[in-house]
């Protein structure tokens, strides 16, 4: 049972458009994935049929919107195997989720406490923690990376000690595609009593994690990385942690009682969902999960691996091409450079050929510093990409190289 690519591609209207007069070849899925008609219809239907504010209306529309929104929360709970539905917090995405935890966790830290980040992170999983450390006086330690783009797990274990309170790593590196050994990271952190946050932004469109089994303390997701809309995502937190953390933002919806003397906060999940949420986005997030589950994550994983192998074999035929993060355990991301050619030049010429890739430091400057490069060209794949597109991309890179050398 393999993927029916013809049927799948027909679900994504954008894939049939032209860019610069050429058929679009979209290989920037790590930045954002495309949206299928099934999700677009849910978004349109929300505004056409039952747009209303949720949780406090007595009228029918409000109830309908509330039901759909809460149904989406349950979809998310089921998909990620989250023990309790109130452990699913709707946020605007991974960046918001991380900031929420960093803000609250900082209040639990004492000066001299230690927290651990990895060298493979996106800026969104670095900067909020640096801000937390500035506020709390905690010390930031870094798990170093190695040449093949993986984490030095021996060094990680050395870093852990009684003072370690929190470890934050991504499940998958956005710049290189490395799948980090999060099970091992979590187990080891728990042995010294530290909590773990896993940034799942780059994993969620390719891997279906079982959060209960992982026993992770926090996990973050952005819906637009899994065929949902931008501006919506989730934070999973274990109930015991979410109860410990103070609210991140104040406002409506997150309160129990408000007086000018003292306000008490609402129960989970509302304590962390101040104001009117992205209702339509939340419902569409649920629809995106439905869509991807109908395609099937196992099939997606197998097919994307095949695409990765196929592309890697092709690209390595090009003289002077170096792939960064050349490890066996990664998602369908290829980050590369060509001898003597700036990634920006390759990206610009590919764009003229209708091929969308990302160039630059991918918001992961520490990785670029490690390799001593200004950036890379990154081609990142989704299950709707085809081998024909890989061929077009391969020919495009060769054409660009011929122009630039």
């Amino acid at each position: 049972m393999e993927l029916n690519l013809t049927k799948i591609r027909a679900d994504f209207p954008i894939l049939s458009r032209k860019v610069n007069g050429q058929d679009l070849v979209y290989l920037d899925n790590a930045a954002t994935s495309q949206t299928p008609t099934q999700v677009i219809d849910v978004i349109a239907d929300y505004y056409r049929s039952y747009n209303a504010n949720i949780h406090r209306g007595v009228h029918s529309l409000s109830q309908e919107a509330t039901d759909k929104f809460e149904q989406a929360r349950q979809n998310i709970q089921t998909h990620f195997n989250i023990p309790k539905s109130h452990e699913v917090i709707f946020t605007s995405g991974t960046t918001h989720s991380i900031n929420l935890v960093a803000f609250g966790f900082g209040t639990l830290l004492d000066p001299g406490d230690e927290v651990i980040v990895s060298a493979l992170e996106h800026h969104a999983n670095i900067v909020p923690w640096q801000m937390m450390c500035e506020r709390s006086g905690a010390i930031l330690r870094v798990i170093p990376m190695t040449d093949d783009g993986t984490l030095d797990m021996h060094a990680y274990k050395e870093l852990l000690n009684k003072k370690t309170k929190l470890v934050f790593v991504n499940h998958v590196s956005n710049a290189l595609g490395t799948i980090n050994p999060i099970e091992e990271i979590i187990d080891n952190a728990h042995k010294v009593g530290a909590a773990v946050l896993v940034d799942g932004a780059q994993a969620c469109g390719h891997i279906k994690p079982d959060l209960k089994k992982l026993d992770v303390d926090f996990y973050t997701v952005s819906a637009h990385k899994l065929c949902g809309p931008t501006g919506i995502g989730m934070l999973y937190g274990k109930e015991k942690w979410l109860n410990k953390l103070p609210p991140y933002q104040g406002g409506g919806e997150m309160i129990d009682e408000v007086t000018f003397e003292k306000t008490t906060y609402a129960d989970l999940p509302h304590k962390f969902e101040a104001g009117t949420p992205n209702i339509c986005g939340g419902i569409a997030f649920g629809a995106a999960l439905d869509y991807m589950n109908a395609v099937g994550f196992e099939k997606i994983g197998r097919y994307e691996d095949e695409l990765l192998q196929y592309t890697t074999e092709k690209l390595t035929q090009i003289e002077g091409l170096r792939i960064y993060g050349d490890n066996k355990h990664k998602t369908a991301v290829i980050s590369f450079n060509l001898d003597g050619i700036h990634p920006y030049d390759i990206g610009t010429l590919l764009d003229k050929m209708g091929i969308a890739v990302r160039t630059g430091h991918h918001c992961a400057q520490p990785i670029m510093d490690y390799y001593k490069i200004p950036g890379t060209v990154r081609a990142s794949f989704a299950f709707y990409n085809t081998k024909d597109e890989v061929d077009t991309f391969f020919n495009g890179v060769q054409r660009a190289v011929a122009m630039l050398r």
Binding site: I341, Y344, D345, T348, G360, P374, M403
Partner: protein, 140 residues
């Protein structure tokens, strides 16, 4: 030649191309004739912000005309800055300040004019004009 005359000349050169590949190949060629910045001026202070690739620019005033030199680590960017410098270099500072850059659109590089474009063409123009403004102030 005035700024406008140089721009006309460039538009003329580009008019013979009928597809983007030829235009880009020519732009890359033009980058090779860029008056290169001296190594001592290739400092971080002289890097134009807002470009994904590095662009260094330096300006002198010789006989009341601004003379630009530059370099970039990306060849397309080098071509773009070469085109700009060809129009602005050896011109009186006031003429540089008054010049418009609509010819960029005419030579088929319109996409580079967007202020959010990572190559920072807009930042480059701004930086060249800032040099001209500084020298114009000296003349006043």
């Amino acid at each position: 030649m005035t700024v406008e005359q140089v721009q006309d000349e460039i538009m003329d050169e580009f008019s013979i191309f009928d597809d983007w590949m030829q235009r880009y190949e020519y732009m890359i060629e033009l980058g090779k004739s860029l008056p290169l910045i001296e190594t001592k001026h290739k400092t971080d202070d002289n890097i134009i912000k807002g470009c994904q690739s590095k662009v260094w620019v330096h300006a002198d005033m010789i006989d009341e005309k601004v003379v630009f030199t530059a370099d970039s680590d990306a060849v397309i960017t080098k071509g773009i800055i070469a085109i700009l410098i060809r129009t602005f270099s050896n011109q009186p500072p006031q003429d540089i300040l008054d010049a418009n850059t609509d010819f960029i659109d005419q030579i088929g590089l319109k996409e580079h004019l967007s202020p959010t474009r990572a190559n920072g063409l807009v930042s480059m123009i701004k930086q060249l004009k800032l040099y001209a403004l500084a020298y114009q102030t000296q003349l006043n």
